[in-house]
């Protein structure tokens, strides 16, 4: 363990950082740093001086065009992350706020609103129950004398609330004084939890969410670990990573390192009771120990000596405060170090238990608010390093209070910048027993334990987010050590090389290199429909959660494998090949072709092979009702029942010889093997997506099941030839990417039902179309609307008993009834008004009673347990919602706009308007 005979010159200061420098985007370039004389003073040796930052390093080139999935997608994980849009206020108020001092306004009112609507029972139940008798919601007048004294009519208030809801998002909606008065009146007593208190709590939580959105340090260290092969001859290592629905399953997956790494067998799986934040591993005396950290639990596993046996769980500890760090000792078996956010550092020995080395809620060198703590091992098995945001301290576990020294300080000692903080310390024992890596949000430092406080190497890494993940691949026999730095949210990945530490001082060799991020594989996946593309984009740009690198030698070829884990639990890898003799031309792309621009996602061609799928389409279609269609390059999965043969058919395509495959150093097109993996991964993901609950709610694609459209019985009623014809029509329409025409030659379109209301509406719409919306003004429009409503109500009164309530009691009922009605008679009752209208759009109703109106008849409502006085309100209430989808077809003549929405979309719009869960819930608990 030699110490370099001479170090690079540097100034040494003390105290807080002087450098006021902000983030400098190019700070890491162009410097030699310092120079040092190499050799023993003989000037004949060339070159006599070596720089701190050299330009000649090993050349590693990516073998693939992008990161490639290693394992099938983690299909359980669909929970989307919080986005700034979810918690930031956008709107009128925000514009006001922006002129003031606070920039980011948290929209806690929206969250409160969601809570009231989604959980009315929790928000208002007791007072709602109390006031139940005293609020009258019906239209009828109060008759009984006694009731009149104690009951108030709330009908108009409810109506107003509903109007507000309908005009949500309209910038000019006026607050009615009535409503404001009521809310003012009941602010103090209506809520289960006092409103102020609740709002405070919600705001506090949002603040936490916002800070974790800006910077989340819980995944520091990364949750991916590579356990190298037990002996050098075998090529089977083990990958440890979290997965499952909430990232609470721990997987041990054997991986065979060959030309392409591949998983062997099924992973061993453990279910834990918390989201796994970090997975750390170390090999001691030939045994692998794996430490796993979740927020309140830390566990340690030991890998079995024999292959095939399951890893054994050794011990689990529970912490009161979330743990922020877990590292495994590379020196002594079964020893780990744990830090909690309360500022405590423990040495955890599986045999002897926990030993608290330090407890200090304050930070070490200056005051910083972060509760984050870290600890790692050093070259001395009894000396641990303890870090917080301000620096690192080394202490002896045998006498933690008396024996310690400052190892790294954010300050002038390391020439830090103001605002710089320690983000990730790491012991590089595998490369050199005394070296440590310290990453801050601006720079990476290399420290030697024997020379504390003065970094032996410093380089501004220029990454856009703080590096939370790092790994090292030690270089044997004088070759450079490779350090990988990774960020979480931006998925950046940087490869650095350095040498030295023993005889020569540490030197950075070669320019840094960016590796592929997980998101980089998006352009190489087969082209998708927009919503699937969006899904993929979201899935692939989920923050990175783990990083592991391994050197793998195969024959003469050296390669570097980098595994990446995303927060959704997907594992990707990329291979880098070492070019043994660096060519004199360092620029690989210069001569071959003009370099592509970075945002070339759109122009990236689909891998060859996908269009071939068209060939297999024909015969499959004939066989039976086929759910998967391939339209040139588009993969449309209509239903969730995937046929087995389809699974077989798809991978056949990419196995064909790749015409574009060429031995260029950095390929633009993925290899055949990679294409195959992309397709498999994509198919698994989309299949899982379609069957997942997430796809059916929220922004997911609405699925249209044929079974709900027609029952078998109904289908059999139709003449088989007609059925065949429909099917042919449907297929043809899909092939032409056109729309489905009407089922049958339409009979004469009946005249629109006489109604007073549409005229007002149509005139408004016409005006709007002509761009006179503003001219009409808010008052005019509301007046008209009110008039229309009044008219409507009058009409409703007229046909009191048998009212045409359509469409929206609940989405499913309406939908089904409507369609069954449609198919009952064999012909649609009222064909669509516009000739090219889609079949599945809402039908205009004639006022006379239709069979399904019995659904909302008094008996029906009674049978559903709705009190008499409310039935009326309910009907009114529901009728408000039918207004929207119903109106346009009623006045087709005056509207010049052709509805030309593809079928899926129109059905989507209807579905979403009818099935918004919030709208069918009772308001405010009464």
């Amino acid at each position: 363990m030699e110490f370099p005979g001479a170090l690079f010159p540097s100034y040494f200061g003390s105290g807080p950082p002087n450098d006021e420098a902000g983030p400098a985007p190019a700070a890491g370039w162009g410097e030699r740093g310092e120079v040092l004389q190499a050799g023993s003073g003989r000037r004949q040796v060339l070159p006599p001086f070596v720089p701190l930052r050299g330009h000649e390093g090993e050349s590693w080139t990516p073998a693939e065009a992008a990161a490639v999935p290693l394992l099938p997608p983690n299909v359980g994980c669909w929970v989307p992350g919080v986005t700034p849009q979810d918690i930031l206020y956008r709107g009128v108020l925000h514009r006001k706020l922006r002129t003031g001092r606070s920039g980011a306004a948290l929209d806690f009112a929206k969250q409160l609103g969601h809570f009231f609507v989604d959980h009315p029972e929790d928000a208002f139940s007791s007072l709602g129950r109390l006031l139940h008798k005293n609020f009258h919601l019906g239209d009828s007048r109060l008759r009984k004398g006694s009731a009149r004294d104690t009951t108030i009519r709330m009908t108009s208030l409810v109506e107003k609330i509903n109007h507000m809801e309908a005009r949500r998002g309209c910038p000019q909606h006026p607050f009615t004084s009535h409503l404001r008065l009521f809310s003012h009146l009941c602010r103090d007593w209506l809520f289960e939890v006092p409103l102020g208190l609740l709002a405070d709590c919600v705001h506090e939580e949002l603040l936490l969410q916002w800070t974790s959105l800006l910077f989340d340090d819980s995944s520091t260290g990364g949750a991916l670990a590579w356990l190298p092969p037990r002996d050098a001859s075998s090529h089977v290592g083990c990958l440890v990573y979290p997965g499952g629905l909430a990232m609470n399953h721990l997987y041990f997956q054997d991986v065979v390192l060959e030309e392409q790494p591949r998983a062997r067998g099924l992973p061993v799986q453990f279910e834990l009771n918390g989201r796994i934040r970090q997975v750390a591993a170390a090999r001691v005396d030939g045994q692998d120990f794996v430490g796993v950290r979740s927020d309140y639990y830390c566990g340690v596993w030991r890998m079995p000596g024999k292959t095939g046996a399951a890893p054994s769980s050794l011990q689990v500890i529970h912490t009161d405060v979330p743990a922020s760090c877990l590292t495994v000792s590379p020196h002594l078996s079964g020893e780990l170090s744990v830090c909690t956010q309360s500022g405590a550092v423990y040495l955890w020995n599986v045999e002897t238990g926990l030993q608290r080395l330090r407890h200090d809620p304050q930070t070490m060198f200056f005051r910083d608010h972060s509760p984050w703590r870290w600890s790692d091992f050093t070259a001395h098995p009894r000396v641990l390093s303890c870090a917080d945001r301000t620096g690192i301290l080394c202490l002896d576990a045998r006498a933690p209070t008396s024996c310690h020294f400052n190892f790294f300080k954010v300050g002038e000692e390391a020439k830090c910048q103001q605002g710089e903080r320690v983000v990730l310390p790491m012991y590089l024992g595998r490369a050199h027993p005394c070296q440590h890596l310290v990453a801050t949000q601006f720079a990476m430092y290399l420290l030697d334990e024997r020379l504390p406080l003065v970094p032996v190497l410093k380089w501004a890494h220029m990454m856009k987010a703080p590096p939370l993940l790092a790994d090292i691949v030690p270089g044997e026999s004088g070759r450079s050590h490779k350090v990988l730095l990774g960020t979480s949210h931006t998925q950046e990945l940087l490869l650095l090389q350095y040498t030295g530490g023993s005889q020569m001082a540490c030197q950075l060799t070669g320019p840094p290199q960016r590796l592929h991020s997980i998101a980089s594989c998006l352009p190489h996946l087969p082209t998708q429909l927009p919503h699937q593309h969006h899904l993929l984009q979201q899935r692939l740009s989920i923050p990175a959660a783990g990083l592991a690198a391994v050197k793998h030698e195969q024959g003469q070829q050296d390669s570097l494998l980098v595994f990446q884990l995303s927060e959704a639990g997907d594992v990707f890898y990329q291979t880098l090949r070492h070019e043994a003799a660096p060519t004199p031309v360092p620029d690989q792309r210069d001569e071959s072709e003009p370099a592509p621009t970075p945002d070339k996602g759109d122009e990236a061609e689909a891998p060859p092979g996908s269009p071939i799928l068209l060939g297999s389409e024909g015969e499959e279609q004939e066989e039976e009702e086929e759910q998967t269609f391939y339209l040139s390059n588009l993969e449309v999965i209509i239903n969730d029942e995937e046929e087995e043969e389809e699974v077989v058919a798809t991978p056949a395509a990419p196995e064909e010889p790749e015409p574009h495959a060429s031995p260029r150093p950095a390929p633009d097109v993925p290899s055949a093997a990679a294409t195959l993996r992309y397709r498999r991964w994509l198919r698994a993901l989309l299949q899982a997506w379609v069957s997942s609950p997430a796809s059916s709610c929220g922004s997911g694609r609405p699925t249209l099941s044929q079974r709900r459209l027609f029952t078998r019985k109904e289908l059999s009623e139709v003449a088989p030839s007609a059925l065949q014809q429909y099917r042919l029509q449907l297929h043809q329409a899909m092939r032409e990417q056109g729309r489905v025409q009407r089922w049958e030659p339409a009979p004469e379109p009946p005249s629109p039902p006489p109604s007073l209301e549409p005229s007002a509406l149509s005139s408004r719409l016409t005006a709007a179309w002509k761009g006179e919306w503003g001219a009409m003004g808010p008052s005019g429009s509301t007046l008209q609307r009110q008039r229309a409503l009044r008219e409507r109500r009058r009409q409703q009164k007229r046909n009191r008993a048998h009212r045409s309530l359509s469409a929206s009691f609940t989405s499913s009922i309406t939908y089904q009834s409507e369609l069954s009605e449609l198919s009952e008679g064999g012909t649609p009752r009222t064909p669509p008004a516009t000739p090219r209208e889609v079949v599945v759009c809402s039908q205009p109703r004639t006022p006379p009673q239709s069979p399904n109106d019995t659904l909302l008849s008094s008996q029906e409502l009674q049978s559903r347990g709705i009190p008499k006085e409310r039935r009326r309100t309910l009907r009114d209430y529901l009728s408000m919602w039918t207004e929207g989808p119903q109106d346009p077809p009623e006045a087709p003549s005056s509207i010049t706009v052709q509805r030309c929405i593809p079928s899926s979309q129109s059905s989507q719009s209807q579905l979403s308007s009818a099935s918004q869960p919030r709208r069918k819930r009772p308001r405010m608990g009464f």
Partner: protein, 467 residues
């Protein structure tokens, strides 16, 4: 190299523009939230989706935006080693100089210098002329960075073996004057002088070698000698200057001490080295102590002072490689106290993972332990050392796995370790048992004697373990 000319000429046309005082960028203003809304960490770049553009500053913002975008492209190209592409973008980026509003620490001119030299270093690292002409233009681009650019230029020349040109550049930079120097500039100036002094020193030592060589032949050249002395003076003045300032100056201290020693000024040399090693304002640099010890050794200083110097090094860096020599020295000593220190030193060395498999260190320990056991005096020394290591050394050094591996990889290491293990842990210890059995099986004589030795002195184990 068309693009080079392009970006060089472009750069030359644009006059250096002083940093104009302007408002901060509008986009960043939106982010200045209340303190509670700020991230716990000062981030280099906030994510894109947090930026909100202010419409009133549209024009400047657009310029700022496109500048940023261009910089991103350059960054992207550099990180993928696409030097030519980066250079093409850089020619566009040079426009950023026109509106250098930034009050930021790193303005466009510095970025152009950094990125430009990075590209030139990597892309055409053999063409020094191009690089020099680029740097010359960069020097005229900003006064704030003039010295820094000069220094980096000199480094580049030195690394390429152009010592004379580097020397010229350094002396030119040294004579540069522009008003009052800032703190940073002052530091850079001192560094420039020091490096110039270092080059003077190399010239001096060259001439010294020539003179010494020819001096043997009775040849004397007064002009060479004179030149040598003038080099000495120049070097000594500037080197002396920098080593007063706290820092890591291994290179300069070595050169300065060499100069002083040649001219017989041992007192001053000693003072310089003492100051470098023991001044509390300096970092605890192990090399400073090493140089001091080497100086003491060279001048035949009394053992006592050498030992005290090494003792201090032992306290600072117990794992330093000089500790092996230190231990050998102490073992030979007749004083009990020193031998005691020697044992402490060698135990401390073996605490570190880096020495775990070092035969030399283990043989030092084995020798001393054997000595103590045979003499049967001072067993309590071993006991004291062992007490703080009792709970982790067996797992750290003497596990069965290590016995197997050491035996396979390095027989002599396993012999030394087995001896220590046998004494410290008794003959039933896993390590000793495994190695002695294997050794006896392999018919190696020394293992048989080892076994005998340990069995004979099993009482020592009992007294060490306190039984």
């Amino acid at each position: 190299m068309r693009f080079l000319c392009a970006f060089s000429t472009l750069a030359a046309e644009v006059p250096p523009c002083p940093a104009a005082p302007t408002a901060r960028c509008g986009a960043m203003e939106g982010l200045r939230a209340g303190s509670a809304l700020q991230p716990t960490l000062h981030l280099p770049f906030l994510p894109r989706h947090f930026y909100r553009a202010a419409s009133s500053k549209e024009h400047r913002l657009n310029f700022w935006k496109s500048k940023e975008m261009c910089l991103n492209y350059i960054q992207d190209a550099l990180l993928q080693k696409q030097w030519r592409r980066a250079a093409e973008f850089l020619t566009s980026y040079i426009e950023a100089l026109e509106k250098d509003f930034s009050t930021k620490f790193m303005g466009p001119s510095e970025m152009i210098w950094r990125i430009g030299s990075e590209i030139l270093c990597n892309h055409s690292h053999r063409n020094m002329r191009e690089f020099s002409s680029f740097i010359e233009q960069m020097k005229s681009l900003g006064i704030k960075r003039y010295l820094k650019v000069c220094l980096e230029h000199a480094f580049h020349l030195l690394c390429n073996g152009l010592i004379d040109e580097a020397y010229r550049n350094l002396s030119l930079a040294e004579s540069w004057r522009f008003g009052e120097l800032t703190v940073v500039q002052d530091k850079e100036m001192k560094l420039i002088q020091a490096y110039r002094g270092l080059l003077d020193y190399y010239t001096w030592s060259n001439q010294k070698n020539i003179l010494l060589e020819y001096g043997k032949d009775g040849f004397e050249d007064s002009s060479v000698e004179q030149e040598m002395h003038s080099c000495f003076r120049k070097a000594a003045v500037s080197l002396k200057e920098i080593i007063k300032i706290p820092g890591v100056w291994d290179l300069f201290v070595k050169a300065y001490v060499d100069l002083l020693e040649f001219y017989g000024d041992h007192q001053e040399a000693r003072e310089v080295l003492t100051d470098y090693a023991y001044n509390s304002k300096f970092p605890t640099n192990p090399n400073a102590h090493v140089y001091f010890c080497q100086f003491l050794k060279r001048h035949g200083a009394p053992k006592k002072s050498l030992i005290s110097a090494l003792k201090i090094l032992h306290d600072i860096v117990p794992s330093h490689e000089l500790m092996i020599d230190f231990n050998t020295m102490l073992q030979k000593s007749k004083k009990r106290k020193r031998r005691r220190l020697g044992l402490e030193v060698i135990f401390a060395v073996l605490d570190y993972a880096g020495w775990k498999e070092n035969v030399k260190a283990w043989s030092c320990l084995a020798r001393q332990v054997k000595q103590i056991v045979i003499s049967e005096k001072h067993l309590n020394w071993i006991k004291q050392e062992w007490n703080s290591r009792r709970d982790w050394w067996p797992a750290f050094h003497f596990s069965r796995y290590l016995a197997k591996r050491n035996w396979q990889e390095n027989e002599s290491l396993s012999y030394e370790k087995a001896l220590v293990a046998g004494v410290l842990l008794g003959k039933d210890c896993k390590y000793f048992k495994y190695v002695s059995r294997q050794g006896c099986k392999a018919q190696v004589k020394k293992f048989r004697t080892l076994k005998k030795f340990v069995t004979k002195h099993s009482s020592a184990y009992l007294s060490i373990s306190g039984l």
